[in-house]
């Protein structure tokens, strides 16, 4: 029951996420068929630049830099990382010839998904937990009974709490594969 209500709240985000991936791949196919393959290359560069600049927030958070308001920088981080990821996804499309860039894209998608979890889904789960607890307390259940009822929801919320555990290492894995991809392109491609 509790799990179902959480799923209902989570579903729109998963749906939007899948739609965005599909849309990006469709745009890639469209641009290829429209003879604009060259544009895809530049979308990759633009996406990478946006993602690199989105890390200003990470530097501010770790006090490596001092300027800027953390909240504003977080919003910029989200916006730039989202836009950059979308551009990179359009750049990559549905092409599975080379493993390294594929791994980079896969890691990027997981990073974005964990970011969404941190920003939206965790909040949703916490709110559900709070609402349900209030309902149960209104029914005059004992604290033990309430905890028992909320066990599944608490577990979900706890798991979601761990989004950072995935977000940051995966970002670095994404960075490693993306860097290898960029290096090999610079070495082998003719600009």
């Amino acid at each position: 029951m509790v799990s179902r209500s959480v799923v209902i709240k989570i579903f729109p985000f998963v749906f939007i996420y899948v739609i965005l991936i599909t849309a990006a791949i469709s745009i890639n196919i469209f641009l290829q068929n429209a003879g604009c393959k060259w544009l895809l290359r530049y979308l990759g560069i633009a996406g990478t630049v946006l993602i690199i600049f989105s890390f200003v927030y990470s530097l501010r958070k770790r006090k490596i830099i001092k300027f800027g308001k953390a909240k504003l920088l977080l919003q910029i981080h989200e916006l730039m990382a989202w836009t950059g990821s979308l551009l990179i996804l359009i750049h990559a499309g549905f092409d599975f010839d080379a493993v390294i860039p594929r791994m980079a894209v896969f890691a990027m998608l997981v990073v974005v998904a964990s970011g969404i979890t941190g920003k939206y889904l965790l909040k949703q789960a916490k709110e559900s937990l709070k609402e349900r607890r209030a309902e149960l307390m209104a029914k005059n259940l004992s604290p033990d009974e309430i905890e028992k009822e909320l066990f599944a929801l608490s577990l979900i919320a706890d798991k979601m709490q761990m989004w950072r555990t995935v977000h940051i290492p995966l970002t670095l894995i994404f960075a490693a594969f993306a860097l290898l991809h960029i290096i090999t392109i610079l070495l082998f491609w003719r600009w």
Binding site: D97, I100, A176, F188
Partner: protein, 292 residues
């Protein structure tokens, strides 16, 4: 601790990726399938690529000598299916690189390795000698047999159609429309009834069939009492070159004769010679000659 985990993630991924690239470059970094003839080179990137410079023509022509393309295989054996056109083309290329026309990692088929051909890569001499490559494409119709001109007089080097044919090129044959356009002659009564003495250029020009320059008011102007219904004056079973005005109660032959004779006009058989409209006072050529 967290910092170490993050650093380890980065370094591990980088190391694994790097080992993968060094051991299996074709599976880790190749952007697409190479053509079938290059399959044996698929893990030897540097056979074609130069680090930092991409693919260079110097590496291609080590195997694909421009003087032998189309005539010999890269192993030096003569080709069974000689392609003199390809040989001529590659020998006539001005200073460009192979990758301007060819690509790789685009699928197994050799067809996929050729991008769109551009004529401007050829020497000016060959560009002006279309027939050296396109002899088999020349149509066998009358016009292409008659005209011994350079193709570029009518065609561009982007595509054969649309052509920019100018009728002036036909010289003295410019009025022989029917030799080319007979099949396009409209099947209407007007065009069917026109005799062989009538030339297309009397109503049409060489820029386009429509609009035609035919103006009925040069012969007779229509009005409410004389509408543009052909059969009012022209008998369907006869040519449009003939007509009659005696088809209504107003133009009774006996009355017309009487009126003209009263005016001293005896030669009144061809009405429109004097009457170019239904206006009674609009008659022309009512000179003495008609009164004879």
């Amino acid at each position: 601790m967290v910092k170490h985990t993050v650093l380890i993630s980065f370094l591990s991924a980088f190391a694994i990726g790097l080992i993968g690239i060094l051991m299996f470059p074709y599976y880790t970094i190749n952007p697409g399938v190479v053509i079938e003839d290059h399959t044996m080179l698929k893990n030897d990137c540097l056979f074609c690529h130069s680090l930092g410079k991409g693919v260079q023509t110097e590496k291609c022509i080590k195997c694909h000598k421009p003087t032998e393309i189309g005539l010999r295989l890269v192993n030096g054996m003569d080709r069974v299916d000689l392609n003199n056109k390809s040989n001529l083309l590659h020998q006539s290329i001005i200073d460009i690189q192979c990758f301007d026309c060819h690509t790789e990692h685009n699928g197994l088929s050799r067809e996929n390795a050729t991008l769109k051909f551009r004529h401007d890569i050829l020497t000016v001499e060959l560009q002006s000698e279309c027939m050296k490559c396109h002899q088999l494409q020349k149509p066998l119709d009358d016009i292409h047999t008659y005209l011994v001109l350079n193709c570029s007089e009518c065609h561009s080097n982007k595509s054969w159609v649309p052509s920019n044919f100018k009728h002036e090129l036909l010289g003295e044959r410019i009025n022989g429309c029917k030799s080319c356009h007979e099949s396009k002659r409209p099947a209407d009564v007007l065009h069917k009834s026109l005799g062989n003495s009538v030339q297309c250029v009397q109503c049409h020009n060489t820029n386009s069939w429509k609009p035609s320059t035919f103006d009925h008011s040069n012969n007779f102007r229509f009005d409410n009492n004389h509408p543009s219904d052909c059969t009012n004056c022209h008998k369907l079973d006869k040519s449009f070159e003939t007509y009659t005005c005696y088809n209504c109660h107003e133009h009774n032959p006996a009355r017309i004769e009487k009126k003209h004779l009263k005016e001293g006009i005896r030669n009144f058989g061809n009405c429109v010679e004097c009457h170019r409209s239904g206006e009674k006072d609009d008659a022309i050529n009512s000179d003495d000659e008609k009164r004879l």
